[in-house]
């Protein structure tokens, strides 16, 4: 995944564009099932392998299913998958990480050992191992991916909590005799959740890729459910005759992965103050210039 992203870096998607792509993905993911022009599952062998046309805008695959509809439906599959995995991984990761940072001592030691092991291995390998144990299936995939993803959230949460625990506003609560539960649930959890969600944005792209990869390997989303990785593997045998069927899902996937990544990066960078844009700067200059016009001599008197 990192190799993939590093090579994608020179693309330099602008944060604005990334935001639009992610928004488009979310929109299609949420409303796709109602937007598709054709039933993405309906086969029509008579229309198999068609090129783009008025009826099938992006053509059909080798079973005659409408490619455009399948691409959109796959966004929905992907989004639901990402949401489920992130949801579970965030709950585990934030919960354990916050606990580790709050309790310190042996609790932290135990949690962080497990986390370190998890972080040392590539997420996909962990997920593959889990699937090896549980067997294939939708929920098995979701759980396997969640188990592979929580350690990074756990580490971030712990770091945030450790950083915030000796901040005076938390120490003040301890001095006031606030119960540990209040400090944990009212003050620490909201803080970590906010910070971790930024990381989660960047990670959503990686997850989309992993879901596709697992499906590509036949271990994730099972046919006939439309899914980009699965669409790729499905049409691979027809690569030479109809490369469009391979390129389109690949392109959709790449866009989403890169866009999520740049969006996450942009959110993280957003905290660093940037110089003003040209338009805003001109406005501020004009404001300042207005100060020095006539009223000055009248009201402010002479300068030394």
């Amino acid at each position: 995944m990192t190799v993939f992203l590093n090579s994608a870096r020179p693309l330099r998607v602008s944060p604005g564009l990334a935001l639009w792509i992610v928004a488009g993905f979310l929109f299609l993911g949420l409303f796709g099932p109602w937007l598709v022009p054709h039933d993405p599952l309906k086969q029509n062998l008579l229309a198999a392998g068609q090129g783009p046309g008025l009826v099938h805008w992006l053509g059909t695959d080798h079973l005659g299913r409408d490619t455009f509809s399948r691409l959109i439906a796959a966004a929905n599959t992907s989004l639901v998958g990402i949401t489920l995995v992130l949801g579970i991984a965030l709950i585990i990761g934030i919960g354990l990480g916050t606990l580790a940072g709050y309790r310190r001592g042996w609790t932290e030691e135990a949690i962080m050992r497990v986390t370190d092991v998890g972080l040392a291995m590539p997420s996909l390998i962990i997920a593959l191992a889990m699937i090896g144990i549980f067997g294939t299936g939708y929920w098995n995939m979701v759980i396997a991916l969640a188990l592979a993803w929580w350690p990074s959230f756990c580490r971030v949460s712990r770091a945030v909590v450790v950083g915030v625990m000796n901040k005076p506003h938390i120490e003040a609560l301890r001095v006031m005799g606030a119960s540990p539960l209040r400090i944990f649930f009212v003050h620490l959890l909201p803080t970590t959740t906010g910070s971790v969600l930024v990381y989660a944005t960047a990670d959503a792209g990686g997850l989309a890729l992993s879901i596709a990869t697992l499906s590509f390997l036949g271990l994730g989303i099972q046919p006939p459910t439309p899914e980009w990785g699965q669409m790729l593997v499905d049409s691979l045998p027809y690569l030479e005759g109809d490369p469009r069927q391979v390129i389109l899902p690949g392109l959709a996937l790449t866009l989403v992965v890169v866009a999520f990544n740049f969006l996450g990066e942009a959110i993280a960078l957003n905290r660093v103050p940037r110089p003003l844009g040209r338009r805003l700067l001109a406005r501020r200059r004009a404001e300042a210039a207005a100060w020095d016009r006539p009223p000055r001599g009248l009201v402010t008197g002479e300068k030394a």
Binding site: K167, A172, G177, A178
Partner: protein, 319 residues
């Protein structure tokens, strides 16, 4: 004699050093007491252990040994929520008014939360919040605002109001005005007078601005490298410092009057505070003491009463 509200007996707080096997002897056997309604100063160079001592008293640092006795109750005999409840009568004011309030809370919410923790019933919290703000000289209209919208002085007063929500008997203020401008320091300092005189709160004022402590505190402790080296009333300590360290410390503060400043005798206090991991044997001040003698290497000087309530820990006190 009145019994003190807070008594600290022979408190020791050590930290594990990053260097293996070494300990940082931040607080090394300190005893002090505070009476009700009294402001007591704690002065000394940075790194001498003032903050660690303060934090140990309120439970933010864990002492290795020693006792903290609040109104006759030894806190080390308590555990869990009983300890938290009892200890909340000792409150703490932080140096940095910018990070001691949660940026996500409004002033009203912060005070409300303190009152919830203090166990005040919901219907009385609103009135009490107004009362607390009034105590620290802030209008009730400030309650819906966020801490970041206030000035440093206002934030520090909110922090004090929050401490007051716990009905404290003791207030420990660690450099409460160091981060504030000279012009607003007075507002916060006068508040401490008000709390001690009108609410009977005992205040421990930790500060390095000696002129400020002299005027605010009636008694003082001077700390050096984890130990108290001198204690006495302000008139005694600032008028007639007996420990060579106190003398050097008082002499190194510049005067704001340039003529007096030029005439000020320079007592050269060379070098800096030695490392608390490996304090000098005998008298800890001997490496910088201008009047050190051979005997100072061998013996740890005990506190000697030089006048009523005025003690100095020097073998050659008054030399």
């Amino acid at each position: 004699m009145t019994t003190p509200v807070l008594e600290v007996r022979n408190l020791v707080t050590h930290f594990r050093s990053v260097e293996r096997g070494k300990t940082i002897k931040a607080v090394d056997g300190v005893s002090l007491h505070l009476n009700a309604g009294e402001i007591v100063g704690l002065i000394g160079e940075s790194g001498c252990g003032k903050s660690t001592l303060s934090r140990s008293i309120v439970g933010l640092a864990t002492p290795n040994s020693g006792q903290i006795v609040l109104d006759g109750t030894d806190l080390s005999t308590l555990r869990g929520s009983a300890l938290r409840r009892t200890r909340s009568a000792i409150q703490y004011v932080f140096q940095d008014p910018y990070s001691s309030l949660n940026n996500r809370q409004t002033i009203g919410e912060a005070l409300e939360e303190a009152l919830v923790i203090a166990g005040l019933p919901a219907e009385r919290r609103g009135a009490r919040t107004t009362e607390l703000l009034d105590h620290v000289g802030l209008p009730a209209a400030i309650a819906p605002r966020y801490g970041r919208e206030l000035s440093g002085g206002q934030r520090q007063r909110v922090a004090i109001a929050r401490a007051l929500a716990m009905n404290p008997r003791v207030l420990i203020a660690d450099e409460p005005v160091s981060a504030l401008d000279l012009s607003v320091r007075a507002q916060v300092m006068n508040l401490f007078f008000d709390l001690s005189r009108n609410l009977g709160v005992a205040c421990l004022l930790v500060a390095h601005d000696l002129a400020l402590v002299r005027q605010a505190a009636s008694r003082n402790y001077v700390m050096y490298l984890g130990k108290i080296v001198e204690e006495g009333a302000s008139t005694q300590l600032y008028g007639d410092p007996r420990h060579p360290y106190s003398r050097a410390l008082l002499a190194s503060a510049p005067s704001p009057d340039p003529v007096a400043e030029r005439a000020r005798p320079r007592v050269p206090l060379t070098g800096e505070l030695p490392s608390p991991t490996n304090p000098p044997s005998g008298c800890r001040f001997r490496t910088r003491c201008p009047v050190a003698q051979a005997a100072c290497t061998a013996t740890l000087p005990p506190p000697v009463e030089v006048a009523t309530g005025h003690r100095a820990a020097c073998l050659f006190e008054g030399a």
